[in-house]
Symmetry: D2
Subunit: 439 residues, 4 copies
């Protein structure tokens, strides 16, 4: 197996300069547009790596204005070859063969991107290039056509078949770990000691997908807690005073944080594969695990509730109930126990409503995290009022968290119900929280 | 660096069964066509890996007839979505936006291939699938349309940016080495002892490109001899009695054998990159190397010469000269020294003619190996009569071999001359061998 | 874990020249004896690696005569420091403190060996040095005193705690595999195809101990067959037509060949640890394994039997029975079935006698392989007449093989019985083969 | 090379439980003394690993009192076998053969330690055991006899030939890096950001020695700065605002911090080898490096100076000069520029005196760091008044630092001069600072 390992030490020579056979013939710098044309021409066949490197070096020197100009160039000069396309259309009308039409309608920038990838470290730069494109698209929405080509290519290159799952632990190189700290998007990691608390204890796991060409940069990672029951509060998981559970005693794997790392790969979906692969691997390692569940934020709840409370009777609340939910946080803190219990109960009902009934104008379920897990075939397992009392948790979801549960036998059916018929599969406990529809 | 290494041990878990979350919901086997449709549908989103595995498992069970049927299915049922294409054409006529047209004209089998790649080891099976397709295409040339999609995808997936160069030596795992024995296409390797003679001595090198998903299967490899002069005879390089040269004394790197390994990647070009990268790496390791040269077969020479001899005067030979060249090998062996010298001289002239003047009906230079090296920017350096007296060498090229030389400063210009103006760049020594054109 | 891996790539830089700070001050070559004294002196502290390298380089140039001279030097000039020893003896008589006595009685060559180990690759050369010493000892038995120091040091350096168990399979580097072919001492491996048959099938395993400083040189290895029953014939295991068993169906692990590889480590015992560690690891990988057993040669049987047959009545055989056992192999082949069956039965009885009753003049059990396994705590499980009909098997043991069985619960007791009370623990089946003691 | 790498992943299985063949026969816990005797007896041969594990497990449970008891046991019950020793003495008197005497005088605890090393992770526990012994020795100095055996064994096991040099950088696993933070003994590392500043910039290096059995625990490490001149102030090296130098422009390698990591290996010397090996490796990587130099603390200077100032005229100072040097730090800060310059000059003289003339009662040079580098063959290159103005630098050495220089051609001669003749080799600049000897 070890021979394989070595393979990547060569991949990783990405930074190394080209010293000899692969260097552009002349020292003078040519305009970026010309270099790109060269790369697509016959010269690109003779000196592809060197030309690609030259283009990427030039690109690296551009400021924001220069990059915008470059993207415009990609849009206008590196679209399909129109002459060839006209001929292909003509031919298609005659023989109905769509193959040449497909090839002729391919924007030339796709081949350009493929050739740029010849340069050492090219993949990495291309991913960063798309990040810049997002910025440029804000100014110039038409550049979305360029993005479509990036996206098409990246979906093919970052196919799950080419990804590698790796456990992240305290023996992982520091240059990878610092990225875990930086990219954690759900429950921020304060510092290295905090990081260690998430990685080192025997009842903690972290896994990431990597691509061989982005070798020390994770694409997405998930943090897992091993427990004996489905947790309702994030603090129970993250507290640094909790007792550590021997992994072999655990029955439940809790996915409590999933973070995408590469803005330049936005829209290329890894999370579904990651959760299922990690579940597989954990089950293999720890056959005692029976329950695979998340502890998830509900980032759209507070905003939705705010609007709902503005429409009298919208979710079947009395005005007094609505007022209780509208209370600012400082006043909530001042409630007596009964008042708080009452408010908590109302939050539960409202969350059930949000999850099971609320729909966007386009008819989709509102919450993005919910869409992700339900779309993966999970079911909504439990609503946890008071699950996350951090400022962000309160602001986004009045402190409520939910669990989604992944159960092998039901994944396809759940997915089908959700994807085709827009049905949110939920446990009976959740359903019981639903009050009769308003009105 | 080592963290990287480990990455691939996971990649290499390719054979491992899926045990849990990723298995098709039902046990009953469905027809391959239905499984493929499932994989492209919403089910594929929920259970992509498992469905992909199921398709590939079914495929593995097919006999030749079954595979032909499968390829026909790909051709007829997994082309572009015609309804969508019609709409895109309509839209294009209105707004001139080729983007939707390009997407709509993509055959559905391309996405199918991408999803099949989700299965563990999927890439490997897809490469083997294309091998089968070549067989099927002999019966049914229309399947070339399916091949175009494979080729398009593989050109993207096996982009040089994703390949890894690895030295092959006597410490390489046996399962890789046996493939070197099997795939060597130029000068056959008799057995493990013969292999060792090509790998172990200090003045020998071997390098291969690998793809992370075909981890113990090289894509292409090159064998190199380090010498102090440009060799003219293959036996001098391969003899097991030769003196071994300390690598640091070498001035010349001789690429004496280049073999493609994956029939399923036919037409995806790696050789150009391999030679240049190896030259770079060798120069880095051994700064004393100044000359990078091949010792190459000329596989098309004898056939061409045979035809030329059939046309009287075709290459400016007298009838007596032609007769000398037509002699069967047994009679050549019986020639006296002067006769043999005369014949050798004629062979040199004829080879120069073959290389510098002969053209195919399409106007291209005839010899495929020459096209490869000249297209890479090498120049024809020397003609070696008697370079390869093995049966194959005599049969293919009357025993003549040639050297192509790679010189950094000239590569682009050489390539340009050859690619655009069909000019074969050759040393003056070779040019002097040319006799005045046949009148 | 991967960081560790890299560690050894540095260890493996063993061949690399010292270029700078560590080189002996002067270029002139000094006599070996002087270099050794230098290495033990203060100079050794400043330039230990370089001096050690210089000594080992000189040593490498010596012929047999020169080596004998060197060993004599070690014996006579690098024994204990007699002055210091006299003082220590004096002190011991006064204060009874044995510590200084122990230090003062240590031959100076022990420290010399330790300092020679500073050189890159020193361990390897020291092991080879001991090999040479064995040759020299044949001429000069007094050199055994030098060997005692080697042995003491190697027993410490090659402590099992420093050894690494590695599976050997078809993905192992060729330079390691060629050593498996070379070192196999029990059932010769004919060539690479034969080797592959022992490594690649799913029901075969091979494991070796390595030392970090002898990185591609195994110390000892064991070949294992996974089966469903205890085998009696080696041909059943080695046949290339046998059906391969899925490893997970196996119930029995058969250790059918154990070979020591390093003559220079003779007398340093690894086999005991190897068998037990491999049994552990196999059990961990394949919990279905219940029986751990050998299929072993009995190399001393034929010689012993020959002598026994010379003493009339020695093992209770009638003269006719003795004659049957004395038959040369060609005549055995000519026996009718009943004759052969009768002879086989006698061989079984004789083997039981050999194993259970026969003792060397020193009172030990005769067979060296038996001593090894019984000393490890195995029990004699079964006698297999006709187990190995190869020329060697017939010559050494009239074709009989035996199984030793390792059973966790009994290992200590078996060992104790054997080591302290010289009792051979055997199955009842074996015991039943015993005939009443010769009268 | 990669096969090697894998080796250590097995070594690293140190924590793993023994599940099968190697477990002590009975569950009842036996007294530690009995277990130790068992391990040395025949049982140890059958079940060495398990018994060793049992001893180490028991040991881990002992409190300080228990450990003291254990060490006493080692001292009294596991010394040499007195009967055997008496016989060996007798024999020695007769035949003068010191071999048996050496063996018989070996304390039995040496073999006990070797057998304890059979347990997985045994080496690590033994090193920790010696740490505990140091504590116990404070109470009971006689235990030094036990320590002598540890030291003898460790000197053999941790022979430089078994150590591995590894670069430490920002890609090193976090569990190794946290040890660098913890063990840094010269210039404390504040946190992970500080660590990164010492490892990541292109002009910084860090190297450590590892032993294969203490795989993620460095033995000793050195931090190196690459510069263009010999630095005099530690702040110039550690400042986080300094400009980073391209490594290839550097001419000078500065060893500015060397830290031993394993208290349990005290007295086993690695530093000499480390510096020379690192110098070699750096020279190989960066041929432009010409100067190898330290920037070192002088930890004994202030104490020595304090005493010298107490003896009027001791180092040739006038009373007024002595008063200036006696000034407390707060008053020094209040000096005008001329006063400070005068004081600095006096410090330089005094340091030269300390280094070149001062001797301990035993006649050795006083400063331990100086003894280390001079003993390695370095020369005293420069005295840097004001080199380290941190509280510790001021307290220990009035802020003075020195450079020691390692020059290949002189190392042996320098070492010899220092070791045999007690001569401190110093640059002329340093020597010029010496004032005429006090009168």
């Amino acid at each position: 197996m070890a021979f394989l390992g070595d393979l990547l030490t060569t991949v990783a020579d990405r930074g190394r300069a080209l010293i000899g056979f692969e260097r552009t013939g002349s020292g003078r710098r040519r305009p970026l547009a010309d270099l790109c044309e060269d790369l697509l021409s016959g010269r690109g066949e003779a000196s592809g790596m060197a030309l690609a490197q030259a283009v990427l070096d030039e690109w690296d020197r551009l400021d924001a204005e220069g990059r915008l100009g470059f993207f415009r160039l990609l849009l206008t000069h590196f679209g399909p070859d129109h002459e060839r396309l006209a001929a292909a259309l003509e031919a298609y009308r005659e023989d109905g063969d769509a193959g040449p039409l497909h090839l002729a309608s391919e924007p030339r920038r796709q081949e350009l991107f493929r050739r740029l990838n010849l340069a050492p470290g090219g993949t990495r730069v291309l991913v960063r290039m798309r990040e810049s494109l997002f910025t440029a698209m804000k100014e110039e929405p038409a550049l979305a056509a360029v993005d479509a080509d990036f996206r098409h290519l990246f979906a093919s290159w970052f196919n799950r078949g080419f990804l590698v799952l790796r456990r992240i632990d305290w023996r992982t190189p520091a240059n990878v770990l610092e990225k875990i700290i930086r990219y954690e998007a759900v429950h921020a990691i304060a510092d290295w000691d905090d990081l260690r608390r998430r990685l080192e204890p025997g009842d903690r796991r972290c896994f990431a997908f990597f691509h061989p060409q982005l070798i020390d940069d994770p694409l997405i990672f998930v943090e897992v807690a091993l427990t004996r029951e489905i947790p309702g509060r994030i603090d129970d998981l993250l507290s640094d005073e909790r007792a550590v559970l021997p992994a072999t005693s655990a029955t439940t794997a809790v996915f409590y944080s999933i973070s995408n790392c590469q803005e330049g790969l936005r829209g290329i979906s890894f999370g579904n594969f990651l959760i299922k692969q990690v579940a597989e691997d954990l089950k293999r390692e720890l056959p005692g695990l029976d329950v695979f569940v998340t502890l998830s934020p509900v980032p759209g709840f507070a905003r939705w509730l705010g609007r709902a409370l503005d429409e009298p009777g919208a979710i079947g609340l009395s005005e007094e109930e609505a007022a209780l939910l509208r209370l600012p946080q400082v006043e909530v803190a001042a409630l007596d126990e009964a008042g708080r219990a009452r408010r908590d109960k109302l939050l539960g009902h409202a969350m059930a409503d949000y999850m099971l009934r609320a729909r966007s104008p386009a008819g989709r379920i509102v919450d993005p995290v919910a869409r992700f897990h339900l779309g993966n075939g999970a079911r909504l397992e439990r609503i946890n009022v008071g699950g996350n009392l951090s400022p962000r948790g309160l602001r986004e979801a009045h402190g409520v968290m939910v669990n989604y549960r992944y159960e092998l036998a039901d994944i396809e059916a759940n997915h089908e119900a959700f994807a085709s018929r827009d049905i949110v599969v939920a446990s009976s406990a959740v359903k019981k929280l639903l009050r009769p529809p308003a009105g």
